[in-house]
């Protein structure tokens, strides 16, 4: 190993062993938008060697203020492909693959089975519950982050150990009450922070340190106040096995307005 990662290796918590762990790690990033751009950049720069990027979307002009892996010359092009190309070109130690499509059950199972850890960088709840469920059934860790205006929510979920997104939100919200960036707007730096916090949790988990139990974190970027909620492990409540998962209608689950 040359001096590229010297400043990281200097940390006794990392060393050459930890750095090698990152270089060997396989991380799946679902979504190459406001969260995915900073998360991918941080993971790649810190030395995660294998990155898979999933996104069905193309670059739009109103993405660029926060999705800075892309530029005006990329307008109309596929985000996953551009992101992966950029990471492959910029980082000699990275092998990045792109999947220019929506994450469905089959693809999620294939990609998550092959990954050490997953980042949900999407802005939709169907994908989030799908990732949570597949990670529960395959016993993989995943890192969540999402924003609402100036607020960030983030957590490392270990659904195989009883800490899943379903523990926190067993019933998804009415989609009309959860606005997201497209409808409520967002200051570019906020998803930038969120994706970076996500990468931070991912790197620490891969390195085997950080964290103190099952917690979901909140950051108010206006007041710089943090808040954490501890979650007791609970039996997983999603689809019982892969075949059930493949017939589970996530879109209906997340779009049923008549919830109690």
């Amino acid at each position: 190993m040359d001096s590229y990662f010297q400043r990281q290796i200097q940390l006794p918590e990392i060393g050459t062993k930890g750095q090698q762990r990152l270089l060997d790690a396989k991380v799946l990033v679902v979504g190459a938008g406001g969260l995915g751009c900073p998360a991918l950049m941080q993971l790649a720069a810190c030395g995660v060697g294998h990155l898979s990027v999933v996104d069905f979307d193309v670059v739009e002009l109103n993405n660029l203020h926060r999705q800075w892996l892309f530029s005006r010359s990329d307008l109309g092009k596929r985000k996953a492909e551009i992101a992966a190309d950029l990471l492959n070109n910029q980082f000699a130690h990275v092998v990045a693959k792109s999947y220019n499509c929506e994450l469905n059950g089959d693809l999620a199972i294939k990609l998550i089975r092959d990954a050490d850890l997953v980042l949900d960088c999407t802005d939709n709840l169907s994908a989030r519950y799908l990732i949570d469920d597949v990670c529960a059934l395959l016993d993989k860790p995943w890192v969540h982050a999402s924003v609402s205006k100036f607020n960030v929510q983030y957590a490392l979920f270990l659904p195989g150990q009883g800490f899943s997104y379903r523990n926190l939100f067993p019933v998804p919200p009415n989609p009309l009450t959860v606005l997201g960036c497209n409808r409520e707007g967002v200051l570019g730096v906020v998803p930038g922070l969120a994706g970076t916090l996500q990468a931070n949790l991912a790197l620490q988990h891969l390195l085997g340190f950080g964290g103190d139990g099952f917690k979901v974190h909140h950051l108010n970027t206006l007041s710089s106040e943090g808040y954490s909620i501890a979650v007791s492990p609970k039996p997983y409540s999603g689809p019982a096995d892969i075949s059930q998962l493949l017939t589970y209608d996530y879109s209906a689950f997340c779009n049923n307005f008549e919830k109690p």
Binding site: G31, G33, G34, L35, G36, C121, T122, D123, N124, L125, A145, S146, V147, S148, K149, N151, V152, Q153, N167, L168, F169, P170, V171, P172, P173, N174, L176, T177, V178, L179, G180, C181, E184, V186, P191, A194, G195, V216, H218, N220, Y227, S228, I229, A230, V231, S232, K234, K259
Partner: protein
């Protein structure tokens, strides 16, 4: 009195991030806020008492801190 911290959309609906209420349990806090603030009853949120997630109705004592945290979806 219990301290109620509201996050994200809930803070906007209630017009404040912090409320002091004198109520016996978590269910009555949700009911009070639903009655007082239009739109609140449609919200889904996680409830924590003293920074610990609770999933059942939970009795409250003076000085307890509640956090009501909705899911976010922006990225």
């Amino acid at each position: 009195m219990v301290k109620v911290l509201l996050f994200g959309q809930l803070a906007e609906i209630c017009g404040q991030r912090l409320l002091m209420l004198d109520l016996p349990d978590t269910q009555s806090v949700s009911a009070r806020l639903s009655a007082a603030f239009p739109g609140f009853e449609k919200q889904v949120f996680a409830i924590a008492v003293n920074q610990q997630l609770v999933s059942e109705n939970t009795a409250l004592s003076a000085g307890d801190e509640l956090a009501l945290m909705p899911p976010y979806s922006g990225g």
